[in-house]
């Protein structure tokens, strides 16, 4: 028979079990506390925002200061315009850069671009506003939709690059080789076979970038500025939903607060719907991996 020299005292065992249970409880509680604000934000935005979601909200221009009524129609359209312009630049550029990292760049250059992408993701977006102000607003002499789009494009770019590159890396190498072995030129293999295999993931990245850009306020404050009227040209100040929400929320008028809540509800709805769509898309993206 084996003599057990390490006989733990019952008290130590008892304590270990209590600590074990306590630890589990603490981390579970932490999770609940972390999620509580999300629920609170959604709850209040729904409660305060739904009454403001009137027909006028989506179809009317803002009323002059102090007058009740009006809506954010121009800001909603404006957001669409600015984000659309930014997408026109950021999406092709981002996808090409993602392809460059995963298909062409040497290991060192790829690491460098990847690193720069990560750093850009961490830059405060208001700094991109300053940049766009310096390179677009100052030379032209006034605020414009272009300037806002320039700032948002830099917000979107690293997101598109990162997701494109990560998803392209998941496409197994033997798929590339199969294409090349058919005598298909490399660029056609990349564009028509690899990109197609990765299309779900890349769409994810694009949606992610669009959602992020649509909610950005800081880079638009002094690039796109704001505008009470419908936009006729792109080289003039333009209203956007987030800036309008900000303006209304910090102003001292009840009716504007109501509209700010409604705007917040529209934004949060957009983000949550996109998040759910993304979840569904991503969970269906998988490749058979090389052995």
């Amino acid at each position: 028979m084996i003599e057990r020299r390490l006989q733990p005292s019952p008290w130590v065992e008892y304590r270990r079990r209590i600590v074990n249970a306590l630890g589990h409880g603490v981390v579970a509680l932490a999770t609940v506390v972390v999620l509580f604000p999300l629920i609170a934000v959604i709850w209040y935005t729904l409660r305060e925002g739904i009454p403001g979601l009137t027909w006028d909200f989506f179809t009317q221009l803002p009323k002059p200061v102090g007058e009740v009524g009006g809506g954010m129609a121009n800001a909603i359209v404006g957001s669409g315009i600015v984000v659309g312009l930014a997408s026109l630049v950021a999406i092709p550029l981002g996808i090409l850069a993602g392809i460059f990292i995963s298909e062409y760049a040497s290991a060192r250059l790829a690491a460098a671009i990847r690193f720069v992408t990560e750093v850009m993701l961490g830059l405060p977006s208001i700094l991109l506003g300053i940049f766009a102000y310096a390179v677009v607003v100052k030379p032209i002499g006034h605020f414009s939709a272009y300037a806002g789009a320039a700032a948002l494009a830099i917000v979107m770019l690293p997101i598109v690059i990162k997701t494109t590159e990560e998803i392209l890396r998941l496409v197994p190498r033997h798929i590339r080789e199969a294409g090349l072995a058919l005598g298909i030129p490399q660029w056609v293999v990349v564009l028509r076979i690899i990109l197609r295999a990765a299309s779900r993931g890349i769409v994810t990245g694009i949606l992610l970038a669009v959602a992020r850009a649509a909610g950005e306020t800081a880079p638009l404050l002094f690039t796109a500025l704001n505008n009470r009227f419908w936009h006729t040209t792109l080289d003039q100040p333009i209203a956007t939903l987030p800036v309008q929400i900000f303006t209304y929320a910090v102003a001292p008028y009840e009716d504007w607060h109501r509209q700010a809540w409604a705007g917040a509800l529209v934004l949060i709805g957009l983000v949550l719907v996109l998040s759910i769509v993304l979840r569904l898309v991503v969970s269906r993206t998988h490749f058979e991996h090389e052995q």
Partner: protein, 325 residues
Amino acid sequence: MAAEVSSVRTVPQGRRFAYPWRGAVGNTVFFGLCLIAGIVVLLTLLAVIAQLVVESRPSIEAFGIGFLTRSVWDPVAEEFGALPFIYGTLVSSLLALLLAVPLSIGAAVFLVEIARGWVRSVLSFLIEALAAVPSVVYGVWGIFVLVPWLLEHVSMPLAETWGEAIPLVAPPATGPSMLSAAVILAIMVTPIITSVARDVLLAIPRAQREAALALGSTRWEAIRTVIGTARWGIFGAIILGLGRALGETMAVTMVIGNDPSIHTSLLQPAYTLASVIANEFTEATTPLYVSALIEIGLVLLLTTLVVNIVARLLVWSIARRYSQQ
């Protein structure tokens, strides 16, 4: 059958393919486009940095290094110093981390080590959604819900009971304050720290948990050894959260009170680097005022650059160490 079919088809190779030139030319053109895109990305970051340096030169020349240590902010007299904003940014961010870090790590541990199946995926989804909510929405919620609530249930009681004894909670308590900013920042950085910490924990090989359990550890003790292994990666996640908190603009601007003076009491208003740019940039009328604001942007840029680079290196080093095994 095969032989018969093949005897029919003896088409000269190459002719059937419509664009024999597409290969070489297309490869070169496409490679060129991709290369340009890659270089544009590198240049964009450099351009942002360079532009901020160039635009802040008037201010740098006017105030020198004293810009960072002076606490005067007087647009009328054109006297500018960034200290109140640096102070406000650092204190609000660190306070936010104080609140967010224990919660985030707890939630990450719960997600990786305890939650299973659909619970895990639903919770992960919610936390990612939390990270995706636009800053201005947190701001609206903060201004109308969080700030009044904090004032009534936290700030006022604190100031009344402890205000005399502890300068940090000295009255008068105001709604928009350093504390409000710290709380909203904590809410905003929690999902980021949680999801990065979760990824770091997931990168730790399963064998390590099993080894600890096999030695007779309780599950909690096994979790603690895993956290020990992942500590540098988790530290990276925290630093990443710090970077985010330092640069967060809209929500903070809406709840911090925007007062360019340094108060010891956390229950009173403050100002951050990002907020002062957001609030005053369009009002800045003189070139020196604009330049001073851009120099504040430069300070913010350099701080977040350093913080982000450190964080990335930490997170990557963990991921690399374990992916090679």
